[in-house]
Symmetry: D2
Subunit: 430 residues, 4 copies
């Protein structure tokens, strides 16, 4: 067991909210953020390449702002921010904490500089550590849960740092390399098989034994129909057949709004695919290379995942099916800690179900909506999840940019149906 | 029992697809369309007041095109269209029957004239009647189902004729009156009460005994939690309290995209509400009048319905809850046959659940998605429903613009979360 | 001399503002509007096919509103409008007379109906005639000039009725015919020659002897350089050479904003040109027909006119050059009274300069700006011309849709550089 | 005489194109660019705050690209660029040298880094110096003129660096300071007086004695009317009267498109003005401070300049009037060399005409168009000026961000009527 796994094991126990565990996790997560941005030039921190993305330095500051706003401002009487306007700049969307700076304009702020942002992080780090040390029991009881949210929140932004950077680098004909990694192809992968599940009443949602977001609650009964789940993800090679069968030119496979998007955006292939001298290439965080047919297809939208499934005469899983199927498989896979920064082909064929964890987020056909009797967190933190429950789709399982100490069986990620800049992929259901 | 009810009763029986029943329904529905457009001036037929609406004459022609394309072209060997280009103009979105004329430009075509469109209708009517009379058994078996779809399709467009006209009239400071109807207020309405339903496995979806669309299939088991359903719709008076409590100014009640829409569209009240000398007025198909506090609130978006419910600390029903609750209540209510063209206050207090049928479509919190193992119709008719299963919400129960021979318990209507020009309203769940 | 010419001759004399002349012109111009719309169906009157165009019924009403607002409301004490809201609907842009109804929404008003608009016209006609008969001398002196503006204003809208209708008909794959006219080609046209003019101080602008708009004043001295003016307009045949030389694909000939427009709008040829089976066709008010190489090219933007000239190594005239060159040529040509509704090839070769009048408006390279010491009319009528003196270009000479009693040597028409729906064409300068 | 003035004097003589003079100017101009960006943080170089602005590092590279493309690539046989893709990135709009990288996306490129851009500059500097030293007479004769254009081109971008930075800093609530400068107000300024000029034929345009752009040619005769020119610029104090008289709320003073812009952009005052506790403040390159009523108003659009003039019952000068009036006044004023980076109040009252040079560019009412018989430079350099001759207005006289060795009497700057981010101001004509 590596350190992170051990840490995870610990948190599964009662002392999950102890000062020691929380502090340890706080420090290791904050440090890992720093590790992730190590390869960058100062200029790389500043740019917002699309409205849906944010500059790296904004992520660095916003995660600190979270601790400042929800912990230090709340529990530490004499707390003073390092700069009074950071609260305004680095608020993402919490309307109950004040009007945030326009999202689309995060990329027009050259100041605070990267150096100042790191000073801000350091300041917040020190304040939080001091706070943890000094908090009395009553305060701690309340604060521990919020720091835990802050830790998980930072892990979400670690993933966004990687995907936003990738999107930004991809705009440039120079195609900068985030990290040099030698590509290691495999000879072959297991063929596609079906794993059957029997209908009946099952429970999904969190049992409350580990850290969870509010949207994973309450645990509740549902009725699942019979279904067969694919034993692995759809590969680039399989997806290429769809492209070569004019998949992007035939409306009959597409949702109506998917088809409009294909036409408007002129999609011809997954995001980051391009042709060089007749050959399909792939831009990765390690630079451009030939599309590897054995790797799982990634950077596809819900529309593409759904169209691919229809073309095959199949469909995507519901989130309930995914969670139910996942019950017997512990989180093990190609996560950010592996530092591949890209999905990997299936390597062994021992398991019945491959790649449920890591590699790519799996689009489900479930619209993101509240579980029966869902209750958001009180106050501004209630804005964390609930208010996005419209027009988005649930993705499950984490990706190569997700931390393995962050993901879990009941975890519900969500994006709009046209989003492609996350590591998102396809698993089929029959 | 009036004629339509009798007709409906008939169709519940085995002879639903007999030549007699189909022809009778075809003729009565086609005639009713003509009745609905009787009050219009020629100019009223021509205008497209928004991209989501269509000119009346387009509806008249498109419904005829449907019979022409899916019945006459298919089953009648020597069929010739009255005009070769109508097929192009009056296709709505069926990509498998050819590229349709741009939706947004339906309002730039002055020709064919209204007179020519009525000639087109007459031509198609005669052809269909002749076809019904002459079809051999084998042909009829196949064609009957499609004419039945065409009949239902025409009823959907009857509703759109009314809502599109209302939207168009509302653009004009002249506020034209579609039909003069004296407003008949009531003294009082029953107070809001809760009807309880117990959790368990139930079945929803069509049993296949009557006409249904593909999206109501297959019937399947689901697990419903305990829930309490409001005994009646939310009224204008109740909704006014939300407005007066600054509901449209407080982001905490709104979905994120709802809040952006409120700000962008400058919503302050339901569509068609406006203030005259400090008083809230309502534009109706019978002209403008003071908002009646006892009438159900209507022309609200999903966002508004959801925000209202949150403000009350309550929520909207799921479509499964609605259908389950509806089981014991036959379709009786304020439908288009009543010719109120507007929702009505609850009049009697005998029933346990009021206004489940007619008056206003009830927003559910269910995203519109396929039932487990859903199969679209084969060919171009498969585009009827399935391809819209993204980013829309299900509404149930029909409205004052819906025909009572069209609606049923399992009927799934769907619109985008920001749509307000349908007669859509709110029922609460606790 | 036909009636209109005689009328024009009269107005050149001192009695231009006499009651007799003004009334005669008022009646003949108002009648001619009715003649122009005779071929239309009711539906044709209603549609606004683009934001820059207006429904025919709006033109009919707006020209009446002009007389109502600036004459009847002002000079007739007890005047009552036929409908209080028409003033709001049919104001085009005169901010000093109140906020106008949104231009882009002129096409969403089905009411007032065409019949009601004709009643409005009739009412205004009667009121104006009565007013003319009864006005005392002092009132008349002031009012006569305004009615004269109103007459000219109506003639401008006659031209817009034709060009807006053409634009609307062209949207329809049915390509409706406004008026059947047999196409009469000519054998050949005079070859392109150059007419020289010598540099020096000359005067341009109105001497004030006839009716003019404020923007033609004051007459003033300018210095003209030597220049050679083409003896006739550029033909379709000549313009085709530019197209065939990839003129629309080569940025070097285009103004920067012209080039962006070409790319954005996907221009490949003049407006209303399209290819049918490999052959260039032309949509005209008499339907579609093969492009006639001897006709002047028309429906080109300033950008296209300028690019064509650059491709030839030549340029467009300035408005001063045009006016100076025009001095010796009286207005005779293919005007709306000829009812060709399309430009014609040069027919005789007697003249030194052909087609200076009628056929097509000639783009000049002069930005539309005030003459030195220009004074707009007082009050709301001052908004007639002056406030458009930015980002537009001057066109001279009138077109086949202009009345010959409307045009004159000093007349300054103006449109944006990307406008193509007017009958606009090209004359070259060396 | 300071160094720059001496240098300018030299260039007025025959040896303007000698190797010594050209090299000296090349070096001093390239160095001055470096001086201007000295106060910046790395992050400040990267950001594009609006489509019309560019990142500082883009300016630094683009000016180098100009020398590379038009000098080194052309005249130096074995020239190799430091990076093959820079030619693509740093092309601004020269279509004849290849398709440029999308202007709007200059701000999404983090690489090349600032350091790499400085290396690029250094490389180009060395290559150019070597080239100058080694060029034979024939080559030099041709190349000298192009380097001279490159020098002037770099000076234009120095001005843009300052105005683009100002625009970027102004987006930030932190309001970063480019350079601390103590504000030095004056007691009073001369009152507004009129200087008369008599009508007649005069010549404008370059005599060809000094460096000029192609658009200043050929020198030609024009006829100027009588006019009175204001002896100084309009001040903030005077402009405030317009604001306080509801100038931004009254359409009667505005050009039609000006008024739409005011409403759309919600303009209430010049760019960079804002209210703090009821007081008008001004964001400058030295930070925010109270509006100084004696300073010339700046950062106004053509629309505002024109509306202000109309409100006063006056007008803006034509470019010919400005140039004619300027004849007797040598370029002396508040230029970038003074390092005020902001316009200054009139300080002495000795002159008849104040502030004709420097401080702010003066909007003229002249649309930017070619002089009679204008010939663009051959090849790609012909794109420098000519292709922008549409929909822009001429400004004259230079600003506090212009180099005094760059400006001259015949210099024609041009911007769109809604541009406000340059130091643009108002001089009146009666």
């Amino acid at each position: 067991m590596d350190t992170a796994t051990k840490l995870k094991a610990k948190t599964d126990h009662k002392n999950r909210l102890s000062k020691t565990v929380i502090r340890e996790r706080f420090q290791s997560i904050r440090d890992f953020t720093t590790v992730l941005v190590k390869p960058l030039e100062t200029e790389d921190f500043v740019i917002q390449a699309a409205e849906f993305a944010s500059p790296t330095k904004w992520h660095l500051a916003h995660t600190s702002w979270f601790f400042e706003t929800f912990v230090l401002n709340k529990f530490q009487d004499d707390f003073e921010s390092i700069h009074p306007q950071y609260a305004y700049f680095f608020n993402s969307y919490y309307l109950q904490t004040g009007v945030p700076f326009t999202r689309a304009k995060r990329g027009v702020l050259s100041r605070p500089t990267v150096k100042e942002v790191f000073e801000y992080r350091k300041y917040v780090d020190e304040q939080i550590i001091t706070f943890i040390e000094q908090a009395d029991d009553k305060t701690w009881k309340e604060a521990a849960k919020i720091i835990e949210i802050g830790n998980n929140h930072e892990q979400q932004h670690q993933e966004l740092i990687l995907t936003d950077l990738k999107y930004m680098f991809a705009q440039s004909p120079l195609m900068p390399v985030y990290q040099e990694i030698e590509h290691q192809p495999v000879e072959s992968i297991p063929e596609l098989k079906w794993v059957s599940f029997i209908e009946g009443v099952v429970e999904i949602g969190s049992k409350g034994e580990e850290f969870t977001y509010d949207n994973e609650h309450p645990r509740h009964k549902i009725y699942v129909q019979n279904f067969d789940l694919a034993n692995r993800l759809v590969t680039n090679g399989e997806y290429l057949e769809f492209i070569n069968d004019d998949g992007y030119e035939r409306p009959e496979f597409w949702l109506d709004e998917g088809w409009s998007t294909v036409k408007e955006q002129k999609w011809k292939a997954p995001l980051y695919w391009f042709k060089r001298e007749g050959e399909w290439m792939n831009f990765t965080l390690s630079g451009a290379r030939t599309v590897d047919v054995n790797e799982p297809v990634t950077h596809v939208s819900y529309y593409e995942a759904d169209a691919y499934a229809r073309w095959k005469g199949l469909r995507l899983p519901t989130e309930e099916e995914w969670e139910h199927a996942c019950n017997q498989f512990p989180p093990k896979g190609n996560f950010v800690e592996q530092k591949n920064f890209h999905p990997r082909p299936v390597e062994s064929s021992k398991s019945k179900l491959h790649q449920m964890w890591g590699d790519v987020w799996e689009w489900t056909q479930s619209a993101y909506s509240p579980y029966p009797n869902y209750k958001p967190l009180p106050g501004a933190l209630g804005e964390y999840n609930g208010k996005f429950m419209a027009n988005q789709y649930v993705l499950r399982g984490g990706s190569c940019a997700t931390s393995k100490t962050h993901i879990r069986k009941t975890y519900r990620n969500f994006f709009h149906a046209d989003a492609r800049w996350q590591f998102s992929g396809i698993r089929l259901v029959k």
